[in-house]
Subunit: 428 residues, 2 copies
Amino acid sequence: MKSILVRGAHIITQNDARQVLKGDILIENGRIAAIGHVRGSADETIDAQGDIIIPGLVNAHTHIAMTVMKGMADDLPFNDFLEKSFAIDAKRTNEDILAGARLGCLEMIRGGTTTFVDMYYAEDIIAKATVESGLRGVLCWAVLDREYTTQKGVPLENCQRFFSEHQGNEMIIPGIGLQGVYVCSKETFLGSKELADRTGMLMHFHLSETRKEVYDHKKRYQRRPADWLQEIGFLGENCLAAHAAWLTINEINDLARSGCSIATCPVSNMKLATGGVAPVPEMMKAGVNIAIGTDGSTTNNSLDMLGEMKTLALLQKSNRWDPTVVSAQQALDFATLGGARALGLEKEIGSIEVGKRADLVIIEGRSANIWPLRKESLVAGIVYCANAGNVKSVICSGKPVMLERKVLSLNEEQVLEESNKAMSGLLG
Amino acid sequence: MKSILVRGAHIITQNDARQVLKGDILIENGRIAAIGHVRGSADETIDAQGDIIIPGLVNAHTHIAMTVMKGMADDLPFNDFLEKSFAIDAKRTNEDILAGARLGCLEMIRGGTTTFVDMYYAEDIIAKATVESGLRGVLCWAVLDREYTTQKGVPLENCQRFFSEHQGNEMIIPGIGLQGVYVCSKETFLGSKELADRTGMLMHFHLSETRKEVYDHKKRYQRRPADWLQEIGFLGENCLAAHAAWLTINEINDLARSGCSIATCPVSNMKLATGGVAPVPEMMKAGVNIAIGTDGSTTNNSLDMLGEMKTLALLQKSNRWDPTVVSAQQALDFATLGGARALGLEKEIGSIEVGKRADLVIIEGRSANIWPLRKESLVAGIVYCANAGNVKSVICSGKPVMLERKVLSLNEEQVLEESNKAMSGLLG
């Protein structure tokens, strides 16, 4: 594997001291070998003079196969949205899933995401697109009660098969994707937990996204979802709950005690107007690990983690009438370190430190919308000013997947053509 | 003046029927001469095959001289923010203002804004940058009671002088910038109105941005700000109120009856956590004309109208728990037609129609984050998916100011260097 020397950038390390350095990064065998003033040379040199480097962003909740469906169900009442998007999704072929996943990967590369958590059935197809793209995917096979799914066979067995096929692959990390308490029984949750404990897989699930979901569950079980999941012995450190919006303090404490991480999805929640704003300040106070997800393109309609960080900070400040709630630094922490921790990958990714995987995003420093650059406000520049168009180059696990805005891993023209066909087919 | 033929784009016309067409646009003498299948040729041809064209965006409230100050006062309590940003702003030289204004224009070009409404003192300096940039500026000279300003001379006289110097200029449109009820007496408001009525100038003012501002005024005058402005006979069709967040239904009706437009600034309000979410649904219902502004870079920290449209729609949906509130089409209407109407320029700009000024933004259609393109969701693609990096070319009043991402009107390198110096000076 080629060694790479990235020269002369402002480096937002996200190390414990949150240092911002000016210097070089040496990559060897896919990992960061040195940071600072690096003497000597490497097989490949990337000139990043004047640019800003951040750790690869972690999109902690999405459904990338649905990327071709963006714009198909906007501005609708929630039930109409569900009906319309489910109806379209039900028509999907394996080719459509592959095309959607490739398009999603392409968009994520261009936006500086290097690791993503996907929830869908047919993760084997999504894995193919992920491998091609060079991104790291935590691919969580949809598990739900059999009466609610069109999956052939038993979902948990399908998930287990997917695990067997990809076990030990650094870039394709199988996970269990539990759709939510509304379609998953106690047995399904505990069966998943048994599989997760045995295999080390992550359990990723939707939690308390809508008010209805919470009160329907309470009516049925006399418990709110997170309380119930704690009570049945499901919650643990191998859990990542998406949305986590409609929570009580008691439930937040359940999450904190159990070590469950959450992926807040501000744009999706706002666009669908699900009402509950994720209680991020209380979760931070309780010690819940927080990550950020875009959710799928039917709801967002974007996989843009730079935009998501800004919206998260804005929403939390606005909701609490307090501009000190969720600073730029905290938003970046959630999108990097928080994501890494949620996946149990905190020793591998999430910051720019010697020994970690080289997941690096090079952002064009000389951009009018970020300029002028100051060390003290570089993080704010990334969170409040930068957009996906500022991302120049992306390196994932030491391999450049985009250089100077040219995507190397995927054939961009082909991805666009195929996804266009998939979109037409779904609407035909 | 050169004729230009823009070939083969998807055109979001924003005409009365909100048509989306596929075809060409012929520009002659700075105006749109034909739309559709245009035979023949022009002095210059721009190939926009597969791209999306929208009317130039109108940023209806900003303070562009402060663009160099982005990142200097983030995530602070409101009073600390004010204190810090005023302290820095007070140190500003004419060179700093020019450098900041140029940087702001550069960012706006790259983000597809062709018309902006600025409020600041020293608009003569900002006019210089605006002329260089090729953008259309409605430049509102700051008017406030003498005890509150460091302006030399009488603000209203300075404003009048600025008007005399630029009267009749198509691209530099002088306006009156009233800072707000907290620093402007009844006499200042009515003196401005007299000048506005006599000259045709727009009156642009901050209105009810913060709760404190409203209740301080009420304590002093027993009236809320908009009620008071109506009562003293100030409000009229030549008024554009920025923020307009903390309003009662009665005040909304005041605005509607008077014909006063508003510029909502969602990102700024959220980031400063001013609490009040502009009552956009009620304003729409009452018939208030709505535009969108970014506010200055100390609060946003961006002049990105594409992002602002998305945030506006998200905030309004989220705030009302109703995803049908402010659709993508409505957000785009506010940023184009609403802005044009607010400035009394609805016959000149705001849509792509024969006879109007050719203010056109060419957005790269083959962008993963917007793709796939469908006529029915093209507007949603612009509002929910596009970012400033997708903007390829910008034409303002028939003159290309950016082509294929190369800014033609300003020397980008020089603007960055100068603004960097200005920033260092302010912090020194």
